[in-house]
């Protein structure tokens, strides 16, 4: 299969990326080359095979751990916001969402 420029633009939008026209062309060519390799996967029979998400699940069931839903960290709002691009009175600033 081969992707189209239109599909690249759609994926870029889903990923919240803005590609320049020359970048879109380049990414299209690279992804098409890449998916030729990926299409080799089709040759493997995987009927009845369970997907493997956690590697150690090959050895047996991996139980997901849960912990109590309680705050375990001290309040670090100020230090956590130190690297934020725009903050005012402890709040993150973004462009106006609701007019």
């Amino acid at each position: 299969m081969a992707l189209t420029l239109q599909e690249i633009s759609k994926v870029a939008n889903l990923a919240r990326l803005e590609l320049r026209p020359d970048e879109t062309e380049r990414v299209l060519a690279q992804l098409n080359g890449f998916f030729q390799l990926v299409d080799q996967m089709g040759a493997v029979n995987t009927d009845g095979i369970e997907p493997l998400a956690h590697p150690a699940a090959v050895l047996g069931e991996v139980a997901l751990r849960l912990r109590d839903d309680v705050a375990s960290e001290p309040d670090q709002r100020e230090i956590s916001q130190r690297s934020a691009p725009a903050v005012e009175r402890g709040l993150f600033l973004v462009p106006k969402v609701i007019e």
Partner: protein
């Protein structure tokens, strides 16, 4: 083939390994401050290697003074006062953390990664002094360290060549004796491959062995931290301090006790007749690792190392890993899928780069992300978003996860015939900077021998095994079954007792 001469007489501090430095510090022959000053001077002197992204002498010396105070008070522990440096994907309070991306330029973490605090000088830590942050591929995506947004790293054996990646700064710094040890992370080979290409020792433990808390996430079902140093013994010392459950902070961290890898290094090999022997250790050689895809110079160094293992009593057997080649597409579907999800957190709101000019919120996301991410990160986000999108999820992502299980099962079949698996790490020695730059596929293909064990979550090592073309180092890869780090380190240690490849150093 040029083979550098073994080092004969050198008593300089930077030529000492972790264990040797620790012994000198414990004997109070030298102070941690002196050791730290010595390495900081070397880092400055070799700045052109590009290995470091951040240093701060004041911070490092304060840590060294803290270590010296503990030593003066009589405390003795195996790493106390020894310096190291961290790959820049571990978040640190005392140094900036960029993941070698413009996206995180000037980012300061409010906390330390678990691995950083376990190794560091804060209470409860092993007492190692951090010399700073090491360059790497952007968000650990790459095999040559050319994807760093800041600068490439040069291989100390030939500065016109790459050091491997993504932990290229870690590898180059250890090889050039700028640090006795470093942390690295390995998602598809990022500890083993640079270790191989720079002639040092590195181990990627079993997935889940070290906490991922505070590691800038790339592919969460694959990412794993590990030590890089000159010898298996030094790696064992570091791994003992780094590893262990982190139950409240990393839901995938293994709830298993950690061995003291260093003290059990020799006894770990229970396969032989004696504790210090490799006698009877069965080494499986996957025929897919020794085919036409591997260059002759690498194969001959690897075969010579295996002959040495045979001489030491190991038994070589052939094993079959039929899906080795498929591990490339499987990995390059799964890793970008997870990356696209992980990197969605970079939105220019809470931290990281925000574009200077934008319209609405959506435009701000798009402009900030497009400016902040480099080419390889962008490519992987695109691939990942596509394979996870409606209509393609089953054909790509789920299919890859199914083949991933088959790959992991093949390893279990192979381990019925052998104790460890061995082969090359990389099909060639380090290539020239710029050689593969325009063709991302070329470096994806070069990951062939490290991807399958990553997908299976198995521990793997690179052990210096000789030299190939252009006098560049070649590593031998050892892969163990789950939780068999001690056996791997033991097998590497025995080899290093009999050979001196790990002691060679660049001019």
């Amino acid at each position: 083939m040029t083979t550098p001469a073994p080092n004969t007489s050198s008593t300089e501090l930077h030529d000492l390994g972790v264990a040797e430095l620790a012994a000198k510090l414990a004997a109070r022959e030298v102070s941690s401050v002196e050791v730290t000053q010595h390495f900081l001077a070397r880092i400055k002197q070799h700045d052109s290697l590009g290995a470091f992204l951040a240093t701060d002498a004041e911070v490092s010396l304060a840590q060294a003074r803290a270590a010296d105070a503990r030593l003066a008070a009589g405390e003795r522990s195996p790493l106390l006062g020894v310096p190291l440096a961290h790959k820049d994907v571990f978040v640190t309070r005392d140094f900036p953390t960029t993941a070698a991306s413009k996206m995180l330029e000037n980012y300061r973490s409010p906390f330390d990664a678990t691995v950083v605090s376990k190794l560091g000088t804060a209470p409860g830590g092993a007492g190692m002094v951090s010399l700073g942050k090491l360059n790497c591929d952007e968000f650990a995506m790459g095999s040559g360290n050319e994807n760093s947004a800041y600068k490439p790293v040069h291989n100390p054996w030939d500065v016109s060549r790459i050091p491997g990646g993504s932990s290229g700064g870690s590898a180059a710094a250890v090889a050039a004796r700028l640090v006795p040890a470093a942390t690295g992370t390995d998602t598809g080979g990022s500890i083993r491959q640079p270790a191989s290409l720079t002639g040092i020792t590195g181990i990627k433990p079993t997935y889940g062995r070290c906490s991922r808390y505070g590691m800038v996430a790339f592919a969460s079902s694959l990412d794993q931290a590990g030590p890089m140093a000159r010898s298996a013994l030094d790696c064992a010392l570091l791994l003992s301090a780094m590893a262990g459950p982190d139950l409240d902070r990393d839901s995938t961290s293994l709830d298993l006790p950690v061995t003291d890898y260093a003290t059990t290094l020799i006894a770990a090999n229970t396969h032989g007749t004696g504790a210090t022997s490799l006698k009877g250790l069965k080494i499986g050689l996957p025929k897919q690792f020794f085919g036409a895809g591997c260059s002759d110079d690498v194969l001959s160094a690897v075969r010579a190392a295996l002959a040495e293992y045979e001489k030491l009593g190991a038994i070589l057997v052939e094993v079959d890993l039929p899906l080795t080649e498929l591990s490339i597409p499987v990995y390059y579907v799964i890793a970008p899928a997870e990356a696209s999800s992980n990197l969605s957190r970079f939105d220019g709101v809470r931290y990281g780069h925000r574009a200077a000019r934008y319209g609405d919120l959506n435009d701000m996301y798009k402009k900030s992300r497009s400016e902040g991410f480099g080419d390889e990160a962008t490519r992987r986000i695109m691939i990942g978003t596509y394979v996870l999108s409606h209509g393609y999820y089953d054909a790509y992502y789920l299919k890859a996860q199914k083949i991933r299980r088959l790959i992991a099962e093949d390893f279990q079949k192979a381990f019925k015939q052998c104790d460890i698996i061995a082969g090359p790490v990389s099909p060639t020695v380090a290539w020239k900077i710029g050689e593969k730059g325009s063709d991302p596929m070329a470096s994806y293909l070069a990951d062939i021998y490290t991807l399958s064990s990553s997908l299976a979550g198995l521990p793997g090592m690179s052990v210096p095994a000789g030299f190939g073309a252009h006098g560049m180092p070649v590593g031998l890869q050892l892969i163990g079954n789950y939780f068999e780090e001690a056996l791997l380190l033991g097998a590497a240690h025995q080899f290093q007792l009999a050979t001196d490849w790990h002691l060679r150093k660049p001019a």
